[in-house]
Symmetry: C2
Subunit: 453 residues, 2 copies
């Protein structure tokens, strides 16, 4: 075998002790969250009704470069981190590419994804503030699972609003959350005012992420000792997820390898923002150059077909406005879209970087994504999550380009998680019943009209 | 944090390059497989109709201490091995025990268990012999998944007979196997003579492991270019699984720690036999002493309530006779028994060692097993497989004994896998609907009567 091992593990002592705040290196900062009533930037006090105080401080700080990771969080990280940086020797061989392919695998924990990196941080600050519990929404279920695990660790009450169609189609995700002690409610529900309103207006609805967010926020702000937590989009989440990129950066340094292209799937941006953080920092500071590629579903194409504008993050329009690439707060991807990556907007940090042409974006269709997933599973052994498989698709395409051009590039992608709870989607693919259904221009234009001016 | 890390990973260069054959150190060798017609030991030629030639050689060799692991298998191992040896700091703290608890975690691969260690070896030898494919049975589904992955790697046809009730209750396991290209048939089926016979005799049957074995063996011996492979019980399987114990032994040496008690769950014995191999070798050679504990389900208590006798391994009675602790080839655990560990017999190696009082055995009831599983998930983060949770139960009981007695022992157990495909059983537990149903003495005696004299 060659000198570079299949898996590179850092030691536990090499787990980063500070998160990296990419905003500190951005010449143009991401636009602030706005109060929808006044159109003025949200104050820490306003946000403090929804989020924990320490998390609000992280959310609003565009300038501090490093945030120390509290020891209790580092200890928890030691249960499943550092995650391995893997050289995809078998995939390279199967593709016959001269490219070297690497991936950072975040799926080796029971949440099945990178989401645990931020959930444990958010639960820690909630506990520190003396709260009773937290509320959240979950779609595919990874975030809800990660939050249940974090809340079990700190003895916090965990109340999850799960998009109704996922609740019904993914009973096993629900059971994992219950095993960790979480209370899981299908959304929309009659437990909140916004839920009752949406149920009255759309009696047969199977729910959406935007609607579940509205319910979770309402519950938090109307119940003493509760705050709302979110698994993606927010600056604080990208901050926590920087641990992915920091570990990868250290591992590449040890191997003496520099990635040429860095690829991540993008829904709200939690994985991509964390994966690229230190690399993008170097790029912004002019210390190194990388091609950075966001991969999104063609059925939910925020970057490639969305508007860069202030918009609501939730269907109920009770959250602050965020400036981002958006498809409109009422946008719901086609029912045949499997898995996550279904949020209508995108992290403000990543939106600004994309707007400033610091990164590229591609949209891929799900049938080709599952082809890549199956190929990856059979060569590299791990059954990938549908979300992660978007990055696999793009990495394979880059590797095939290298093959065609006869060049040896280092391709690096984020494998955010495993597909063990996505077998209904795999069954559809195995039965050759999977199809692609993209939004039409007319549909998107109708959705754009509801974006506030 | 203390000096001993949470997770100890060996480097890929430290992956063992030879499997350890525990039989070489046994003063009393395990009894040989017998031809049921002649009652004489099966010859290599006879076994060669069922198994690959190299595997037959491994099966029959009681004296060779080390078998080199072929390079292609070592390379495959590098995709998911070495597996971590984990210090259960959070579990210790939650129990308030002075004991130090360690576990070897084999679940970080898509098969979700240790089964991949042997399936890749068996697929390799099938490929080397120029075969077209292999057949097998699967119950809980871990072995079938592991074999599909191994066959995908070597381009072999993989035909899995899956116990009908598992096939219906675990559609997702089935889909994983299909994703890796396997052909999965619910057993009993009309694709074999023995299947048709069993269906005629028991029209409503939901199948059993013994019946699925009969079908898989029949398919293999009646089709050109096929052989049968088995995930447990056989000597060759314990040989391959010795990699678990060898890695653990090296890791403990590096940490300067000697386990006092070694605990493994036991169904057919694949995990337990592999986990204990080098430690039991030391014990047999008088170089070190360890308490070694097999943990089995009270609903399928081969060691603690079975007979030590020659018996059939399959319901159809077409396989050789093995000398083992057995509940009788027709024994089927109560329908409310969840997960694996449902084979009526036990590895001949482990049976002989137990008979010679080199190890202990305990039987635990499943409600207490799921209590331990939930406690473990909430403290150590990983959702364990029901099978593995038998070992967790026993490890917790040992840790509580240490607490009571005020002594600091090193407790080591095997965490064979994850419970991501066992959420129906967890749901039953979460809904407080789980019960225990043990075989009565009358039932066992009726079953014992069918053991050949």
């Amino acid at each position: 075998m060659p000198e570079i091992p299949y898996k590179t593990y850092l030691s536990e002592k090499e787990i980063p002790t500070a998160w990296f705040n990419l905003r500190a290196d951005m010449p143009v900062k991401p636009a602030p969250l706005l109060d929808p009533a006044t159109r003025k930037p949200c104050t820490a006090e306003q946000l403090g009704h929804v989020f924990c105080d320490d998390l609000v401080a992280q959310e609003l700080d565009d300038n501090r470069k490093w945030f120390d990771i509290p020891g209790e969080i580092v200890d928890f990280y030691k249960m499943y981190r550092p995650s391995p940086l893997i050289r995809a020797y078998f995939l390279e061989k199967a593709l016959g590419t001269p490219a070297h392919i690497y991936y950072k695998f975040e799926g080796n924990n029971t949440s099945g994804s990178h989401k645990l990196n931020s959930s444990i941080a958010q639960a820690y600050y909630a506990k520190k503030q003396g709260l009773k519990g937290v509320t959240t929404e979950t779609g595919a279920g990874q975030w809800g699972t990660a939050l249940s695990m974090a809340c079990a660790h700190f003895g916090l009450d965990c109340r999850v609003y799960m998009v109704k169609c996922s609740y019904e189609q993914k009973p096993f995700r629900r059971e994992v959350m219950r095993t960790y002690g979480a209370d899981v409610t299908p959304s929309p529900s009659d437990t909140t005012e916004v839920g009752r309103r949406i149920l009255a207006e759309h009696p047969g609805t199977t729910g959406s992420l935007g609607c579940a967010i509205s319910e979770a926020v309402e519950y938090a702000v109307t119940h003493e000792g509760y705050r709302y937590v979110l698994g993606s989009v927010l600056n604080q989440v990208l901050l926590h997820q920087s641990i992915i990129g920091l570990e990868a950066h250290t591992a590449f340094k040890k191997l003496g390898v520099k990635p040429d292209v860095i690829i991540g799937c993008a829904g709200g941006g939690s994985n991509l923002g964390g994966l690229i953080a230190p690399f993008m920092g170097e790029k912004l500071r002019g210390e190194a150059d990388y091609r950075i590629v966001a991969v999104e579903p063609a059925s939910c194409p925020s970057f490639t077909r969305g508007k860069f504008a202030y918009d609501f993050c939730d269907t109920g329009r009770i959250c602050p406005l965020a400036k981002m690439y958006t498809l409109g707060a009422d946008f719901i991807p086609s029912a045949n879209h499997a898995g996550g990556l279904r949020f209508h907007g995108m992290s403000s940090i990543l939106s600004q970087l994309y707007h400033d042409r610091m990164m590229e974006a591609v949209a891929v269709e799900q049938t080709s994504v599952f082809e890549a997933a199956e190929f990856f599973a059979r060569t590299e052994g791990t059954l990938p999550a549908p979300e992660s498989s978007h990055a696999i698709r793009a990495a394979i395409d880059e590797a095939l380009r290298c093959k065609k051009e006869g060049i040896e590039e280092n391709i690096f992608f984020g494998l955010t998680g495993t597909g063990y709870f996505d077998l209904m989607a795999y069954a559809t693919y195995n039965d050759r019943k999977m199809s692609d259904q993209l939004p039409t221009d007319a549909e998107l234009n109708a959705s754009f009209e509801k974006i506030p001016q």
